[in-house]
């Protein structure tokens, strides 16, 4: 584009069409996602007290500072680093030491995104890669779930050794309580679905308030900031497969509603799987991607060693995205493939 001065000092801009632009922009999408996470963070603070804010803050600081230090200049403004940090914080147990949350955020951005070339180039969801790293490096801390104290102290009391000094073993003196999925897997006791939907349960900081996450996701889907097909496909696959297992043996397997609202499924399906960069570009691909995640979640939860499998399910499907994209390329207008499709549709009618 060039600016050409005419007689009288009038400046004309020369550009190729189209001259109008849709009002959406990449930073606007990213900051809207951050904004839609505010109610989820508020709910996390309600259930887990100051620990929730500290953990989310530490993970975000790790992500943002790494982006600032090693990323391209000005890449903080697009908001994608902040999203990674907040989402990572929401997937951590409330009692995790803050330095571990910080390291997770730094690893997620550094090795999950920047080594691939920054925004738009990464294969795996950076927040989940950071969490997978923490799960491998600090398995004990990542599976200690402090229970919520019923007293007024929930507003002032930390949920674990949040302030442990780096590289020391955190002292575990907090009240611990297993997550609903852990109870289901190791003690075969179910938790009431109402409790799961509202979120007053033990679990990661931001994954417990299922209904609230759904509402925030609905807002993003209505503004076309996430592809609604991915969460819908995940929910449908999880409901169908766990419903089938429940129908076979309702004593051994969880009910479909329990499967949908327990663990990180809501947060994962709505916020992690729909990360635009690491999900397929085609709508047909979005269905395949979502169904694949749903099947893997149920398979890992039912037959795997861990009680929860949303993180690994999404990371595994992230690795398949290039193949899904290749297999679901649209058929251009006028090509023999589209003509055949058209005829087939005409034959049905």
């Amino acid at each position: 584009m060039t600016e050409t001065p005419l007689d009288g000092g009038l400046m004309l801009q020369l550009r190729a069409s189209p001259h109008l632009k849709a009002p959406d922009s990449t930073p606007k999408i990213m900051w809207n996602v951050v904004g839609s996470l505010v109610p989820v963070i508020a709910a996390a603070t309600w259930y887990f007290g100051p620990s929730a804010l500290l953990v989310i803050g530490a993970a975000t600081a790790g992500a943002v500072l790494t982006e600032r230090a090693f990323g391209q200049r000005g890449s903080l403004g697009d908001g994608s680093g902040a999203i990674t940090g907040i989402l990572l914080g929401l997937t951590l147990p409330p009692g995790v030491p803050l330095w571990i949350a910080f390291v997770g955020g730094a690893f997620g951005i550094g090795f999950g995104k920047l080594v691939f070339g920054g925004l738009g180039q990464n294969i795996f969801n950076p927040a989940l890669l950071g969490r997978a790293f923490l799960q491998a490096a600090f398995p004990a801390v990542m599976t200690t779930w402090p229970g919520a104290p019923a007293t007024v102290a929930r507003w002032s009391q930390l949920r674990g050794d949040n302030l442990a000094f780096p590289f020391t073993t955190p002292s575990v003196d907090a009240v611990t309580g297993a997550t609903p999925l852990g109870l289901m897997k190791f003690e075969s006791t179910s938790t009431s679905v109402t409790q799961l939907m509202i979120g007053d349960i033990s679990g990661s900081v931001g994954e417990t308030a299922g209904i609230l996450i759904l509402l925030c996701g609905a807002y993003l889907a209505a503004r076309n900031y996430l592809n609604w097909r991915i969460p819908v496909a995940v929910f449908a696959a999880v409901a169908a497969l766990s419903g089938l297992l429940y129908a076979v043996d309702s004593a051994r397997f969880a009910s479909p509603l329990f499967a949908l609202f327990s663990g990180g499924l809501m947060l994962g399906a709505v916020y992690m799987a729909t990360d635009m960069v690491t999900s397929p570009v085609t709508n047909a691909g979005a269905w395949i991607f979502g169904i694949g995640i749903g099947i893997l979640v149920v398979v890992i939860r039912t037959w795997g060693g861990l009680p929860e499998g949303v993180m690994y399910a999404i990371l595994l499907m992230n690795a398949l995205v290039p193949f899904i994209n290749r297999a679901t390329q649209p058929t251009p207008y006028g090509s023999p493939g589209r003509a055949a499709k058209h005829r087939a549709r005409g034959a049905e009618a």
């Binding site: 801009q13 570009v281 390329q329």
Partner: protein, 88 residues
């Protein structure tokens, strides 16, 4: 056009949101074509049915990263035409 509409905007990397695939009236993959164009892989663009593109500009309009897709496609088409004439 108002001053606000004509303001130059920053271009961001492609975030693979897929909005251009939804917008394309001839069912191309402008996201892939744009990545190929930025990498200078023009022969591969022709294999990806660049000739079907009619430069309507829908993809450029919806692109949240403000990538000049149809502008690059116009250049690539001109280049393809030139190569064809030289070969003939």
């Amino acid at each position: 056009m108002t001053e606000k509409e004509s303001k130059a905007r920053r271009t961001f990397p492609c975030i693979k949101c897929g909005h251009c695939l939804d917008a394309c009236p001839v069912f191309l993959n402008p996201s892939l074509l744009g990545i190929l164009a930025q990498a200078g892989r023009f022969e591969e663009m022709e294999e990806a049915d660049l000739a079907t593109c009619m430069l309507c500009g829908c993809c450029s309009y919806v692109c949240p990263s403000n990538i000049p897709l149809s502008q690059m496609f116009a250049l690539a088409k001109a280049g393809a035409q030139r190569r064809k004439q030289q070969a003939a």
